[in-house]
């Protein structure tokens, strides 16, 4: 069983996305701990990419700040190794295919295993291309997380049947970023998912308020929040972790 399963054993899961190195790794570490202590069930650690084509302006900004601060894949690996001394909740990496590919897929994925990274989310690796990394992910026990989008329609069953870890349901068309309203018929998507797999599914993209988190938790197994957390980092910089802790608590409370 994937360690990721544990994230869904504490009621509805609250999943927090944090970009590594924005504005520096000390702040990232404090932010991860604050999120974990305040009820986050799983952390998605973003490895920055120069050209994140699935991200809106907020997460693009975080990637840029982190890269300008001199972040590298190796620095992030050392950082996670250190973080794992006390942070025990499931953690996954979210990055782009080229970051894994250029590092050497086997070296990257075997290091994930070694530093106890439980999964990998690559928004530019659809079902058709997952063979690129899947054999190595299976070999090293790192879950390759699949995404389902509002446009997936006839593809949902196919993706769900082979999904690992958890299913990331993209709430809306477009890129990441907060949205005032989510209009997609997510309940129908979740219904098809449930018919095809037992693994949990969580909804992300556009979620920022406790009210939205509560709604998403009602129809799925959890809510994923990125841009709203990144905005706190953008606003408060090194002082963000305290704000992130309070924010995570308000979100998790709304989902209970």
């Amino acid at each position: 069983m994937s360690n990721i399963q544990k994230a869904f054993e504490n009621g509805k899961a609250f999943i927090a996305f944090i970009t590594c190195g924005d504005p520096d790794l000390e702040t990232t570490a404090a932010a991860v701990r604050a999120a974990a202590e305040n009820g986050a069930d799983l952390i998605e650690l973003g490895i920055p990419f120069s050209d994140p084509t699935a991200e809106g302006p907020v997460i693009q900004g975080a990637n840029l700040r982190a890269l300008n601060g001199g972040i590298t894949t190796d620095k992030i690996f050392s950082f996670v190794r250190e973080l794992r001394r006390d942070v025990t909740i499931p953690m996954v990496f979210m990055t782009y295919a080229n970051v894994v590919f250029s590092y050497g897929a086997e070296k990257f994925i075997s290091t994930c295993r070694e530093i106890e990274i439980d999964g990998l989310i690559l928004p530019d690796l659809p079902f058709e291309e997952k063979e690129e990394f899947l054999p190595l992910c299976c070999q090293y026990g790192v879950a390759l997380v699949s995404l389902i989008a509002p446009t997936s329609e006839n593809r949902i069953a196919m993706i769900a049947k082979e999904a690992e870890g958890f299913l990331y349901i993209v709430s809306s068309l477009g890129v990441t970023g907060t949205r005032s309203e989510i209009k997609t018929d997510l309940a129908s998507i979740v219904k098809v998912v449930r018919e095809n797999t037992d693994i949990p599914c969580a909804i992300g993209f556009g979620i920022s308020t406790p009210e939205q988190a509560r709604k998403m938790a009602e129809i799925s197994d959890g809510a994923i929040v990125g841009s709203a957390i990144i905005k706190l980092l953008e606003t408060y910089g090194k002082d963000a972790p305290g704000h992130i802790g309070a924010y995570v608590k308000s979100m998790k409370d709304a989902m209970r």
């Binding site: 050209d51 084509t53 782009y96 894994v100 250029s102 989008a149």
Partner: protein
């Protein structure tokens, strides 16, 4: 040359967000349906002939041939097409396809502005809405083309992210497409991006080599010894090469933008300096650092200022079927001026990269040999920038 999964050797593929998968599948299915549809082909041929002005001329550059003293030089005059570049070939094909698919809105990226102008033109012709993404840096380098697009009824959105050039325009167009798919076709301008774009764009551009082959057969009764074209993403080059790929004695030479030199960081010569990676929907060669971060690239030519290359070129390089050579800003500017004075033809600065390489190799070739250079576009758009490069205070 494409296998069923959109691969060219190890290159190509569909590395895109799930949100776009059904859109590219729908596009692939529509293309498979229409590419052999007689009515579609009749309409497209009519547009090529009556609207774009095809076939484009294959012109014997007699003065240049004599001056260089070696191989006979022919120029494939894509600059004479309506809108002034080869881009219109692909755009008319894709716009017609999009229209058949029921799309009412075209979005596009553009570097030099030629693809944006071509897309805006096709949108005007076919009564479609048009939005063009262009790096902010390029909107100043190519201000005239921005005005042309607006004149044609398109909305031009300056892209300020990243290096504010072509790669960022592609990223932003992809982001826009994920947010609005049902009525929108992404009219990609080069043989790049996710499958099926590299194949579709190649097929629409392959008219260039089809015509070269026929025209040269008529004029010389034989195949050329070398075909030379500039390569950014690589659409005019693959169009110029395609019908010669099976003719193994024809040298195929792609000229990449070396900028200030391939030993500097200010270069856009992907095959010379890049390594295999995954970006913008495809596996291919990319200029990148050791962590896979895409490198900022540089060329005097906005149209070649891209950190990747189309997957079929990457494959032709891997198997040794085509050669890819770097050409610097200086060499391209010299060639730009040379062709203007020698033949009275002002080429696009992109195309001048191909002219520059021909100037290097023609003198070493025999007088009985033949080189075809594709002049992918006209150079009016570049005059102010080249004047400034030469130290003149000229602004549009």
């Amino acid at each position: 040359m494409t296998n069923p999964n959109g691969r060219f050797g190890i290159h190509g593929g569909q590395y895109i967000p799930e949100t776009l998968m059904n859109a590219v599948i729908e596009l692939e299915n529509a293309y498979h349906h229409y590419k052999n549809d007689p009515e579609f082909n009749r309409e497209l041929t009519e547009l090529f002939h009556e609207y774009a002005g095809r076939p484009s001329r294959l012109y014997f550059a007699g003065k240049m041939t004599k001056d260089l003293g070696g191989a006979k030089i022919y120029l494939k005059r894509e600059d004479l097409n309506h809108t002034g570049a080869h881009k219109i070939n692909n755009v008319l094909g894709q716009a017609l396809l999009a229209k058949k698919m029921g799309k009412t809105r075209l979005i596009a990226e553009t570097g030099a502005g030629q693809h944006g102008v071509a897309t805006a033109t096709a949108a005007a012709l076919m009564g479609m809405e048009c939005v063009v993404f262009m790096g902010e840096e390029d909107t100043t380098r190519q201000a005239l083309n921005v005005y042309r697009m607006r004149l044609l009824g398109a909305e031009v959105i300056p892209v300020k992210t990243g290096t504010a050039t072509l790669k960022d325009a592609v990223s932003e167009a992809m982001r826009e497409w994920t947010s609005r798919i049902s009525d929108t076709h992404y009219c990609l301008g080069s043989v790049m991006g996710p499958h099926p774009f590299p194949t579709i764009v190649r097929d629409f551009q392959a008219v260039i080599s089809k015509e070269i082959k026929e025209q040269l057969q008529e004029k010389e009764g034989r195949l050329p010894d070398a075909v030379i074209a500039c390569v950014g993403g690589g659409s005019n080059a693959i169009g110029s090469f395609y019908h010669f790929i099976e003719e193994e004695r024809v040298r195929l030479i792609g000229c990449e933008a070396a900028g200030r030199g391939i030993d500097t960081f200010e270069t856009a010569a992907t095959i010379s300096t890049g390594k295999v990676g995954i970006f913008h929907g495809m596996k291919s060669y990319f200029c990148q650092d050791k962590d896979g971060q895409i490198a900022p690239v540089y060329s005097i030519s906005a149209g070649l200022d891209y950190p990747g290359v189309g997957p079929e070129h990457a494959y032709l390089h891997d198997i040794g079927r085509a050669e890819y050579v770097p050409v610097t800003d200086d060499e391209a500017v010299n060639a730009f001026e040379y062709l203007a004075r020698m033949e009275g033809i002002i080429p696009a600065i992109e195309s001048a990269h191909a002219v520059a390489h021909a100037m290097k190799i023609a003198p070493e070739m025999g007088k009985d040999q033949i080189i075809v250079i594709t002049i992918s576009g006209r150079g009016d758009k570049d005059c102010a920038a080249i004047a400034r490069y030469r130290g003149e205070d000229l602004h549009e």
